[in-house]
Symmetry: C2
Subunit: 370 residues, 2 copies
């Protein structure tokens, strides 16, 4: 989910629509007594995805559809795919400016301007999807996220989830730390920084160039998402070693961003509707990603000759220790970053032992390897 | 979640309310032109829980509140706690009869009349919460659940989740299969049947009697739910060995049951609202249960002197092998039960390897025990 749009960056339509369009249907004017309210609120949602991109693109469309359905058509949100109104990575500024009332995107795209935003997607060795949702809903995560975006006049919420990532595609085996030295790998964000400190050479490339770069040798390895998206990208044709776990991104929360003034201006029931539609997507999207990732994982192994391998312990231990240093540094930037770092660490300390006792032991017992 | 109400069984109010009450507010009668629709639909929701019981009781209340909020007050659902209108375990029949339009409960309560209903809560060595939601949403589970309840004129959906269960409280250590012989244990349903075949003596007792039974020696062991609910029950005062995993119930889906005629009779937008409110609770309730279970697990170990122990491999292997036999038998009852059994097994076969690669390996790497 680190796509950069290659479409025109000059498509911003600056008509100010912050106040929202309001259309009054003729039925209401004609109807007597118990007239149905036909005033229609029209919003724009800009997204960082191609239209109906499996996973987040489908999620964005479902939110729009559910809002229309629950409001009886009174609340219409027009969805713009990446590049249609603004490029994929300008949606944050577009909603801040009020050119669109909301966006569907992912928080780690904003690391350049708000480094701590990455905590609201995933951090290396951080929280799994169910743990992340628990932190946001119950552990103070939402309030910190709100505080982080408030200076921009924006309100963020979770809206979908693509699940746990895989570790990535490697042309050669990784048998130990020496195999990371000089390794040309595509891994954005904090995971890439951890790899760099262990001697690898992170290469920044957009998704559309990854396949060819891996094929030609510009890259020795690349991560992308999970089996569903990765198989569609075709990586299995040029690399046969698929490593796990995705230590660098154990969660894939989709982000809805609202212009706060626009959100506050909605009638209370429509505000409740759009927020609940986002929340419902957290489970629905994860269910879809898990189902499709599971099916693609089978196909990769049974039909594509891919070997799914665990990183060696030596490598995992070094990745974990280096991650602790990199994360601690993110907490030194400013007081709010420090509070976000500490809150995330506290949530992990609380939730990880429960996941271990409840889920990891169960999974081991289920497959007979306890 | 296997509470039996001890309150009066004679409180059914048989006024037929299937058609729903419709009240027209005076504002609509007075308002001209673009009048807001004030027709109010009033429903009854009967539940199997005490009012605001942590977990499912809170979920039921949130669904009611969210429906009122999203409908702008036009759709009012009155919540009846267990025993208030009908006893906890009569809610299925009450909604089938149309005395209430919906219920909030759990599907495994209906094992007596519909044995396969247990598959829609949890089965031993079955699906974890995220896997269960994936099966229902993506793997054909919802259609089978619908088919199972259709003869009763009912439509079921997921509405909340209490998460993975713990294995239970044991007064003595379980070192091997011999320690199960003659063990007086409270474990309802299929898990209890598996225990019985391994020589234990399942004892059927309602939740309110468990603490005293464990204290007095009527029980040697008991399961209940997870650390949050279990600690509130006080089991840690009379047993110090808390076993995991909860092999018998790896998921805790709450069930909303609708009277199909009532649901079909709703305006489309209100039908969408109540269904989306139920769906949003799947993630919200699980987030709360995970957060509270994690906190209570810490307190049990740090303040209450409880030891959290894994079942020995010998015991887990026997439990798993016996479970396979018991589950296969449930598929032999009738063609629909067979299809449900086979669909659940296929979902497990597809999803478990992905959970293992993505989550189990990640959890091991995170705590350094890969």
């Amino acid at each position: 989910m680190s796509e950069k749009s290659h479409l025109s960056k000059n498509m911003i339509n600056r008509r100010s629509l912050l106040g929202s369009s309001v259309a009054v249907g003729s039925a209401a004017l004609a109807a007597p007594a118990i007239a149905e309210e036909k005033a229609t609120i029209e919003w724009k949602m800009v997204t960082s995805w191609p239209k109906n991109l499996p996973g987040p693109g489908v999620t964005a469309q479902r939110i729009v559809d559910q809002v229309a359905r629950m409001s009886g058509g009174r609340f219409q949100i027009r969805l713009y795919s990446a590049g249609e109104l603004v490029p994929a990575l300008e949606v944050f500024d577009t909603v801040a400016a009020g050119t669109a009332q909301m966006a569907h995107t992912a928080s780690f795209f904003w690391q350049g301007k708000i480094p701590a935003s990455v905590y609201f997607t995933a951090i290396p060795f951080g929280l799994l999807p169910h743990e992340h949702i628990s932190w946001i809903e119950q552990g103070g995560g939402q309030a910190l996220w709100d505080e982080l975006y408030a200076p921009f006049g924006l309100k963020p919420v979770m809206a979908g989830n693509t699940g746990v990532q895989m570790g990535g595609w490697y042309k050669k085996h990784i048998n130990g730390l020496d195999d990371l030295k000089g390794l040309k790998i595509r891994m954005p964000g904090l995971g890439g920084e951890v790899m760099r400190r262990l001697g690898a050479t992170p290469v920044s490339l957009p998704p559309g160039e990854l396949f060819q770069a891996l094929q030609s040798g510009v890259l020795d390895a690349t991560e992308f998402l999970g089996p569903w998206s990765d198989r569609a990208m075709g990586f299995q044709k040029v690399a046969k070693n698929y490593y796990s776990p995705g230590f660098h991104e154990p969660n894939g929360t989709g982000e809805a961003i609202f212009n706060q003034v626009a959100l506050d201006g909605l009638p209370e029931e429509l505000r409740a509707i759009v927020l609940e539609a986002c929340r419902a997507e957290n489970g629905r999207a994860l269910a879809e990603s898990d189902w499709e990732n599971a099916g693609s994982l089978q196909l990769l192994q049974e039909e594509d000759g891919v070997t799914v391998k665990p990183y060696p312990d030596e490598v995992l231990n070094a990745l974990r220790e280096t991650t602790a240093i990199v994360l601690a540094e993110t907490g030194e930037r400013d007081p709010l970053s420090k509070r976000i770092y500490e809150s995330h660490m506290a949530a992990r300390q609380r939730l990880a032992p429960w996941s271990d006792v409840a889920m990891r032991r169960f999974m081991a017992a289920r497959d007979g390897s306890s």
